[in-house]
Symmetry: D3
Subunit: 251 residues, 6 copies
């Protein structure tokens, strides 16, 4: 069964994200496409960024369904637009934060998120609460690097990640780790190995690849999010929603 | 001490909300002004509506602070834009849902929300979880009337509210009630009296008046939301946020 | 609308509390009166103190209602007598602990209480549990000064408060602070400023002023505690309650 | 090892409680004595009753320790005075509500309390929260009989208990039951048998006998409540506590 | 990347499970093998069954790793042997209950389990608690058919499933459903369609196919369960474990 | 009333456990017998050990009931076989972990477990969750000694226990302690005294003696675990359970 998964990156083009980031996640029989949004923030670091990027993210997800895409993954650990997008479409829409937090509940006893900035703790804790993943949440630890300065080749970044990982494991009781920003492409595997060398055999979850694969698994088994939890927005009786792009798809 | 509180109604003008809705909440020594937004949904009934209305709601709150307003109340039980607005300003910003859920925790043992539509249950439950008001949440009950068809003079609406209130009290263990839509102006008091006639001496909270008064109390005592929980968004290094109106106020 | 709020200080007169402590909380159009109790403890530092002071505190609250007072605030973070008083009267009765813990849930993500003594931690934690304010509780930190030795002018006390505040913010994840003893009059504002100078823009809640103002707001909006949660005690069939002062008001 | 356990009944003498209620709980080698209080309520049905009875209950417990009693059980499911009494003495003090709720956690998956009045639900829920017994709490069901009219020989009362038990088991998911008033002496066993005849093999806990036996077990194993959780009240520097009977025992 | 996943059915051969049950879950490039155990129960309906089947289930999982299998899925919603097996091996071992409960947290707001027998409620609730999936658990509903009498072609079984599904959705607030027994092969899809015809667009999760696919995704991304949460059993110093088959693999 | 309690030690004979360990727990009028199992692990240190020892532990408990024993206590803080044993018999079966965790909820505000090995933390936390004892759980601290090397006379072990106890009290907020391995016979009392000398008046619970005494109390009051929570396994229709010893007692 060949299928098409769309990654929607909820930021405007800055060069941070590249098509090559997603190469090889799916095999040659499937298709993985990716788009950035046209209006919104250049990176998602605050709640403000999330709501500025959310409308066009949802529009891109509606477009994806209209184009026949089978499932969508939002490319940001803030999961901006996840819940309204699920109202608007029937194909599976996954956010990497919701997906990996619940995956971490399967893999271990307590998980920590390795974030780019300390101020993300509050938001990750709120997300864990509404995602049903709070009971196994240990902590958020931060490398304190602005998203737009992330250099995934940098030894300094790798070292900081390792330091924060050790603090999470030794001080916070974590035994499972989630990379807390989808901009930290490819760092999970090397961190997992480095930790193993240090005697810690713990999973380090790279959010996007596993979320894409779970999206594929959902399509293959014919399951999507519950429309009883995310009901379709109806057409407004009066002045509508002020965004023509949303109005057209409503009944 | 004379102060100025702004109500921001996060919907585009439809005639549903009127200045008279807020008359008399504050005394003559204080000023209560109100604005609607210019771009967004005509009513807030879904998560989609919330994100479509949030950007301009936040813009209006930034404007309010710039104009010297002392505190802002968002006029919708979905509290759209509450959290990003708090990032952007230092004056108190209150959402009626967060405020009344925590007030209900003070007044009784368990509270129910009387909503306009059944599909709001999921969102009210998520809000209760992140607002620290979950432990006393009993239920959401709905009158099943679209917001834009609400007629606060209608006997049918009053009867439906009473019926749902009785179900919440008798079946769900609630002893405190919150009117779940700020469009149901002025219905709390009559419901409270009708319940009292039926032997139930329970508070029925009308969200906007009490939220405005608590905003005033915060201003008078020099307290606002925590900037450690809602830190200022910094200026983006690269392409910014795509919304010039937000860019200008950042440092 | 002019109203009358009574502060009931649940300790016997020792000079610790003075009428001047409450001056200026309400404007000149309203009346704020205050009484101490005649029988009970000289300060509230233990559960023993609370139950010894509770009966006369409740009697004073019953008297207040009989005199036409509009609302009562109990002047102690242990909230002694709060729940039985609510059974006995219909006017709003607020405890500063219950009120400020739920207010803290509105203002931030996690709050800490700055107590006078370490042994109050257990009681504040139990109160947070039954007040519906547990999910956002971070910690109790203590200055370790007996209530009757509190000197609110003392630089040492101010320094200790600042130290404990920093520990709560840095080590416990708090972003919102509550002064944990109503005997620490006037210290909230200076602590808030000192923290701001140190880079922490966090609210420091002074319990009595805001609780009095919220009591006023409840009166103005016609809301009180739920009598379904706090039902009236009925007259005993047989020997009664052994306290004539309580017997007389029951039906 | 012969020991002496004191039951303190926190009500003034009305004839409701009799020495014969406690006969046979301990064997002939041990001693079980019982006292009622001199000042307080005639029955415990409200929070008001609890605080009116608490001071003399604590005084009686202090006396018991001074007389060389080995442990005390408070004879009321409201556990009035439990926490302040533990501050004042080192011998074990047990409340039947705290003890049986935690025992129910051992015996089954979810427990219900069979109360005398519906208004006790709120208090049992608050107790379950602070006793660490909330996660297995199913419900409170009530027979709706005032304490002072309880007739433990009455077939009507037995029938009502059975009805409420069945509702708890069938509707609330309970599998373990607690008799919710120590005035319902001797009804647990017959209810357990009647339920067994109806196909429900569930424990029905009679609060006082098992609490007395656990008190004995604590004495025999040299364990008491934690003084780190219930620290001794110190002598007040100034005016004390206004109750000479409490002042004398403090250091 | 071609991989080999082993399904271990933790029951002795009875004809209930057949290789054809698993056909088509993986594509032709991968291998899915399956084994039953040699010693244990004929079906898993009680905690007794679980512990009787667990030792040989773990032995079969150790064998699988030794044979070079890439991941194991336990074919039973009781997840017998899941935790000890994870101690013994490093390849991913997934239980369908843990996996689908956490998947349900991703797909909706509240989930119910459709079980074969009512007595499974207690165990599903305990599992939800330790799997970090409690906050979104709505209920367990049962069709009341013994596992060994399950006939997946039976119209009666399909009708019972539909009835229980409707009760979960309408009465328990569920919006996502999990088939609660891996013996109910192939019933999820028809139930999902039938519910859709009845106006309920909700996911019905068939446990084994999605769990196998998630196991595959874990292998492909190089993630397994945390050995910090499930550390290797060490060789016993003295008499060992009494099971030679376990002794040999320990270091 | 003379009764017979059986301690079942869920390990194979190694000399670690001796009849003298249980002497004096019950008085001369009662009988305390003890057996070890014939097939299983030499010590319980992992989940693997638990499931290997569980089947024969359950068999021994079934035998005990058949012999007329009045109650059974499992002699291990892992409580192996507790839940399936309760399915198989009607006499009370107690596990020391479930019993002492709930007892600790009665004695203090927060408890810590002093374990033999750090890897037991995960299991104690899972047990606290399903035993309804999570809300008062503070931490697990470990002396890091393999069970089979425990020397209860050793000063080093006593010193390590004291050190970990102090860490639990000072760093984790615990005020009540549980000895986390039944192999640490007789160490509770000396630790309690040593802590008292250091100014900590906290209970240190020795698991087996108090659990035996509570078992006795249950027998005397005619209460056992709920068969609605632990229903009898029925005879299998087809191939049974593969263990003849279990088959014979089923109906």
């Amino acid at each position: 069964m060949s299928l098409h998964i769309r990654v929607v990156t909820p930021i405007i083009p800055t060069g941070l994200t590249q098509a090559s980031d997603f190469e090889g996640i799916l095999g040659p029989e499937d298709r993985l496409s990716y788009v950035e949004i046209g209006k919104g923030a250049a990176s998602i670091e605050t709640e403000l960024d999330e709501i500025l990027s959310a409308p066009d993210t949802v529009a891109k997800i509606i477009e994806a369904e209209a184009e026949g895409v089978d499932a969508v993954v939002i490319d940001c650990m803030g999961d901006p637009g996840l819940r309204p997008a699920r109202e608007c479409v029937e194909i599976p829409v996954l956010g990497p934060c919701e997906t990996t937090m619940n995956l971490a509940c399967i893999l271990g006893h307590r998980y920590s998120v390795l974030a780019v900035a300390a101020n993300m703790r509050v938001r990750f804790e709120n997300q864990a609460r509404i995602y049903g993943a709070w009971d196994k949440y240990a902590s958020t630890r931060s490398v304190d690097v602005p998203v737009l300065e992330l250099d995934c080749e940098s030894d300094l970044l790798k070292e900081k990640l390792f330091e924060q990982a050790i603090l999470a494991l030794e001080n916070d009781g974590a035994d499972t780790l989630i990379i807390g920003c989808t901009g930290m492409v490819g760092l999970a595997q090397s961190l997992q190995e480095k930790l193993r060398d240090a005697g810690w055999f713990v999973p380090v979850i790279d959010p996007i690849p596993i979320t894409v694969k779970i999206a594929k698994a959902l399509v293959e088994t014919g399951i999507s999010h519950s429309k009883a939890a995310y009901p379709n927005p109806e057409k407004k009786l009066k002045s509508g929603r002020g965004y023509p792009e949303f109005e057209s798809f409503l009944k």
